[in-house]
Amino acid sequence: MIGNLIAAFLLIVISTYIYYETSTYPKLAMAGMLGPEVFPRLLALMFIALSAILIYQGIKDRVDSRTIRVNIKDKGLRRIICVLTITVAYMLVLPHTGFLVTTSIYLAILFVILGVRAPHALPRFVEKIPRWLRSLLMIVIVSLGVSWVIYYVFQILLKIPLP
């Protein structure tokens, strides 16, 4: 399993860093007491031991290792990258533009990307509106409604500040 080897490599990097950083700590401990460096170093030792086991297992199971193929055309993967990128943008903009506006826009964009459609069984007078307009209306209403409900419950009802 390639995952094992990557994980083992990362663990060794972490342990090395732990040793490097803890060696810069001042000697605070008096005789017979443990300083701040001891516990992280114990963990580092255990990480090294475990990564050895991971490497051993990784090499032993190599026969049935499956190659992880990253397919850019994979719809699921594209969706994930898309949603995560927009979420990063949301997190960066959030402190500057306020919760209600940003969240409504964020939700609406994601609904469009994920292809939210209006449901079929609706009252007759709504059925006359073309489907794309119905879906659009629903997206706008749901994204505004959800943001407002979250805002109301947190900020007004429970007095918990939002970004």
Binding site: M1, G3, N4, I6, A7, L11, I14, E21, T22, Y25, P26, L28, A29, A31, G32, M33, L34, P36, V38, F39, P40, L43, M46, F47, L50, S51, I53, L54, Q57, G76, L77, R79, I80, V83, L84, T87, V88, Y90, M91, L94, P95, T103, Y106, L107, L110, F111, L114, G115, V116, V146, S147, I150, V153, F154, L158, K159, I160, P161, L162, P163
Partner: protein, 492 residues
């Protein structure tokens, strides 16, 4: 002490708390019934709601969500063969087969009644065993606490994944994360990478929301939209008394198994349900028919998974060691209010502890009522499309991580651990030990250093004190068990 019960009763039945439990149970049932939203995730993203409440109010609501969600998971297992939460995975086979036979209504009703019975038995066990355990634990010194934390961690690593080594790596990473920030004895800042925000350390709540909330969203985005077939009309939800009488032994056995397994650190309702299912299958005369719609096969897991809720609360309340990932969040929620679960909680805030017992019983009774009365609405709830839910959950993840200490930094922490959680799960590293390790880390480190401080740096105290030595032997047995099993002659 009856007066403490009366005091606790009057507290819980205050209209505020009662309504919060009702809201929690309803929210939990809905979220639990929706496939892809687990109990841990729902408690995690809604924990933010409780920051502004009193400890008993907030915790009662979270317990309501917990019990409601574990029950709610059985609904989608029965109706569409997809477990709503991992805890109801064992209910799928026979539950769905029964509903395919036209028994959807009675099976749903049976699930509600049995979840209630399982939950209630576990609350009774919790209320009668937790106080004496806490009294014993009061005598524990830092030596015992160190070992207890390590013991908890090794069981967690053992039960939560396919590979013990990977579970241990994940758990130790959790311990390491909690080393970041101010060191607990000397106050020296560690692993801050020059960042002001990291001096206070990485908080548990955002990591947990990321690893359970955002990670799950990423997985759901990758998966295809599930198809829901036509769900039959739900009728006759009240189960027959004769069925209950026939299953009585199975029910009581499953409830006791569920509570006991739930009480093991790290083993939650999901494992409780599987163990009870296995036992019922072993004890049944028709074990070959399991999976084809046996009543025993749905009775055992639905009873046991709700029994796991009370079990998981035992180590959490008495020792401060999480019984599963939901109780880990409950510990986090208590700590926000400056309360540390453990034996001292029973001495200092007995009204809170007993109030929680009653709140838990109430939560069980409430989902029974809602479950029987609202059975017809369930199919509509389950049909909520995923592409509407997922963006809303991401927003709630952000809100929940921000709300704890009004910090944008915590939202970034949540996001980063969401992605780390995704890759960990892809490589078969379980996420639960990481989160539980963050709870156990400070207990292990500060108690270990305190123990050595008291003993004057002599590490033999860990081996010579009887309880500590017993725990140490058990840890070694646990860690060696995969290898020991190979040495034993194979059975049959």
């Amino acid at each position: 002490m009856p007066e403490i019960w009366i005091k606790a009763l009057s507290q819980v039945f205050e209209p505020n708390i009662f309504l919060l439990i009702v809201a929690g149970v309803l929210a939990g049932m809905v979220v639990g019934a929706l496939p892809g939203l687990t109990a841990t995730m729902s408690v995690g993203i809604l924990v933010g709601l409780t920051f502004g409440l009193q400890p008993l109010q907030g915790l009662s609501m979270l317990i309501g969500i917990y019990c409601g969600a574990i029950y709610g998971g059985s609904i989608s297992a029965i109706l569409i063969n997809i477990p709503g939460t991992p805890a109801s995975a064992a209910s799928c086979a026979d539950g769905y087969a029964l509903s395919q036979k036209g028994q959807a209504g009675p099976t749903l009703g049976l699930a509600a009644v049995l979840s209630f019975i399982g939950g209630t038995i576990s609350v009774l066990i919790l209320a009668s065993f937790a106080p004496p355990i806490a009294r014993v634990a009061l005598k524990f010194s830092p030596v015992e606490y160190t070992m207890l934390a390590l013991f908890g961690l090794s069981i967690i690593a053992y039960v939560s994944g396919k590979s013990l080594v990977k579970g241990l790596v994940s758990g130790l990473l959790g311990l390491f994360l909690k080393c970041w920030g101010i060191d607990p004895i000397y106050g020296y800042p560690r692993f801050t990478f020059g960042q002001m925000e990291l001096v206070g350390g990485v908080e548990f709540i955002p990591v947990m929301i990321g690893a359970f909330g955002l990670t799950e969203v990423i997985f759901q985005l990758k998966a295809k939209e599930y198809k829901i077939g036509i769900i039959q009309k739900i009728t006759n939800v009240f189960p027959k008394l004769s069925v209950l009488r026939k299953q009585a032994f199975n029910i009581v056995r499953s409830a006791i198994i569920g509570t006991f397994v739930g009480a093991l650190p790290g083993a939650g309702c999901d494992i409780a349900a599987w163990v009870a299912y296995g036992e019922a299958k072993r004890a049944s005369r028709h074990s070959d028919k399991f999976g084809t719609g046996m009543v025993e096969g749905i009775a055992a897991p639905t009873t046991a998974n709700n029994a796991g809720t009370g079990g998981a609360m035992i180590p959490m309340l008495t020792l401060g060691i999480p019984g599963d990932s939901v109780t880990a969040i409950l510990i986090g929620a208590l700590m926000i209010h400056g309360l540390r679960p453990g034996p001292l909680l029973f001495r200092q805030h007995p009204d809170l502890v007993y109030g929680l017992f009653i709140a838990m019983f109430l939560a069980n009774a409430l989902f029974l009522i809602f479950g029987l009365a609202g059975a017809r609405i369930f199919p509509k709830v389950i049909a909520t499309p995923k592409n509407v839910l997922m963006p809303i959950i991401v927003v709630l993840c952000c809100v929940g991580s921000y709300a704890m200490r009004n910090s944008i930094f915590d939202i970034y922490v949540m996001f980063i651990f969401g992605i780390i959680g995704y890759f960990m799960r892809r490589a078969d590293f379980p996420v639960a030990p990481l989160v539980l390790g963050m709870i156990l880390g400070p207990i292990a480190e500060s108690n270990m250093r305190r123990a050595l401080l008291i003993s004057g740096g002599n590490p033999w105290v860990f081996f010579t004190r009887p309880i500590s030595a017993t725990l140490l032997v058990m840890i070694i047995i646990f860690l060696m068990s995969p290898y020991l099993r190979k040495l034993l002659p194979a059975r049959r």
